[in-house]
Symmetry: C2
Subunit: 396 residues, 2 copies
């Protein structure tokens, strides 16, 4: 083939999650929506808050050339200032400055830009991810020319296994990616976990003569049920924060988010330039202008987690009663459930026969579990319980 083989394989590979979702859509068409229990996707089921609509209406009152015109590559100064000010109100005076923010087209863009800014293609750079992990991390890391090094999480708590990370750090380690609240496990990393990780990265970095960045991917930061989500740059100085409004404001299709190099980062100015350069090199030279204005207006609008909280309670309560084992979900909208046989794919096949559609953990780099996305209608949770019961009885 005369083209890029790696791109061909990325474009030809089937996504297990999308295949399950497509199967679910077909079955809904055949059986009716109330007969299929599709837990495959992470698409918010809560509508964008009313403030988003109001902000769109306000923006539409601007002259069209101003509203729809190019903004600076890093974003509208007013939008960056509004975001930085909100972060300072929430996380302290040193949390963020406008000129450390680069507005992007969503979380995938934020990560693509960050990995590209950090890694030198051909230099053998390594980026550590904690398995189970969002599968696009590997694609984005490899496409930045680095190697994706998988380190298993603690198998009981699904917190970071600090010793495993310490053992995986080498002089070529450029970064460790963390994602808390976590997709797929729903776990929120404790302050203790983050402090231990920070100490580990400092110590290994010093021992090996390298500076390890912490890439904190935070699209689920606002989707929590009481757990504290510490501000990672407070715990580790070499942190880059990647954010998106896909979940917090239910705007996944509008592609709006940011990369933050915090003021306290020891190589802040260099890294800010690298982020801007990577944005330019990848074609991210202006985040969608209308939604830059919308998020600037909605920066302090609380996320509506009531529906997810009710779903979580119904799902966790129901599965607990049926004897399923799962990780207590502190955040995001996923329940991480132990499959009732070692082969999660085979377990999911049996579930599928009952019209229940979770995602096997193999898609996320580990075996023996399934992800049950509860960003669905409450009726889907309630209606699925007899099928979950029948599934459990098959293994009894």
């Amino acid at each position: 083939m005369g083209f890029n083989r790696e791109m061909f394989s990325y474009g030809s590979a089937k996504s297990a999650i999308r295949e399950i979702a497509a199967y679910g859509a077909r079955r809904r068409a055949e059986l009716g929506a109330d007969r299929v229990f599709d837990f495959s996707l992470g698409n918010p089921s809560v509508p964008a808050p009313d403030e988003v609509r109001a902000a769109i209406e306000r923006a539409l009152a601007l002259p069209p050339c101003e509203l729809h015109g190019y903004t600076p590559a890093s974003g509208l100064p007013a939008a960056r200032e509004a975001i930085a000010a909100s972060l300072r109100r929430r996380f302290g005076e040193r949390a963020a400055e406008a000129d450390g923010l680069y507005l992007t087209c969503g979380a995938a863009a934020s990560l693509a830009i960050t990995f590209r800014a950090l890694c030198e293609p051909g230099a053998g750079d390594e980026v550590i991810v904690v398995a189970p992990y969002f599968p696009e991390y590997k694609v984005l890391i490899e496409s930045a020319g680095a190697r994706c090094v998988e380190v298993p999480a603690d198998p009981e708590t699904f917190q970071v296994d600090i010793d495993a990370v310490a053992a995986a750090v080498t002089p070529r380690t450029k970064a460790v990616v963390i994602n808390s609240p976590n997709n797929p496990t729903g776990v929120v990393y404790t302050r203790r976990t983050l402090e231990d990780l920070a100490a580990c990265l400092r110590e290994r970095g010093e021992a090996l003569g390298c500076r390890v960045q912490l890439v904190s991917d935070e699209p689920y930061r606002e989707i929590t049920y009481g757990a504290e989500v510490p501000w990672v740059p407070d715990v580790y100085e070499r942190t880059v924060v990647c954010y998106s409004y896909s979940k917090s404001l239910s705007l996944p299709g509008e592609r709006i988010g940011w990369v933050l190099v915090p003021p306290a980062h020891p190589e802040r100015d260099e890294l800010v330039a690298c982020v801007a350069g990577a944005g330019r090199a990848l074609g991210y030279v202006c985040a969608p202008a209308l939604f830059q204005r919308v998020i600037a207006d909605c920066v302090d609008v609380p996320s509506d987690v009531a529906a997810y909280a009710a779903n979580r309670e119904a799902l966790a309560g129901g599965l607990r009663e049926l004897g399923y084992e799962f990780v207590e979900p502190d955040g995001a909208f996923y329940l991480w459930v132990r499959a009732l046989e070692p082969d999660a794919a085979s377990f999911c096949e049996r579930a599928r026969a009952l019209e229940v559609l979770p995602v096997p953990s193999d898609s996320f780099g580990c075996t023996g579990w399934v992800r049950v996305g509860y960003c669905v209608g409450h009726d889907t949770i309630v209606g699925s319980m007899p099928a979950w019961g029948a599934l459990a009885r098959m293994y009894a």
Copy 2:
């Protein structure tokens, strides 16, 4: 530095165009907008057509979860079908199919994805550009791991110099980029130019055993003043078309465009997969959803070029009368004017002293000319004429 050096240099380099524009903004604040004649930018001065507003209002009537939700990575099927159908109506039954379209976040994204799909980093791939050219081409080509090979245009007509391209093609040539209507020259490539280029690429490809792609970057396709803009895939079979609605619908900030692998491309299926894979690898997994719907609705809305046509007439007429030499502008909204001394930067310094702000051709990879962007208010054109006259007299 521990980060990516190339990204650092992209992020640290000053853009001459943006510096001139920033100077213009400062001078406007000091002197008043009517005293500064800023021709530096390519930001549309014509507002988005009313149909865009109507389409936004229609989209806003959808339920928010549907409106703002993820779309397939390549775009909404209905949007892709609407675009393909419009292309078929304009350019014939074989012009486009929905599944050859990948919706993107604007022209820079379309090009970044295309270069990444075509080129193998580390393989020594080459991409030919015709100078003068849009300077981001070089950044996007290099960041896809290829070498940007500059070939001068015909120095009289600024059409493609076919012999120069023929001489530049090597076994490593992956693609030639063309941009017609052209930024910065305003030239529209004639059918004859395209046919000669196609013959040249076929012949050189056969002689050297390589398959050269033609990347046709067409954000200015609709901004013309009577000239025919041939449909490039009709002329050369290995064409990829990159498009954006930034100029045609005056939506530069909303980041919406597409990549098309036409049905007649001999390696169509492979290349479609490579484009999808490159989109994924670079983080372009869903173009902004609201504007996918807007462009689907506005796909046949004609571009409003009346204001640009009036500006073009006033500018070209005025400069002709003052004795300036320029290339007859068939399209886009740029006049390519010969500097009155060999050093275009020095000429622009003198112009700046008279508050006239064109861009020296050095920014576009050639010497001795300036780009005068006429996507400005008509008063700016008219008001600038005495200063252009004074400038000419300095050299008389």
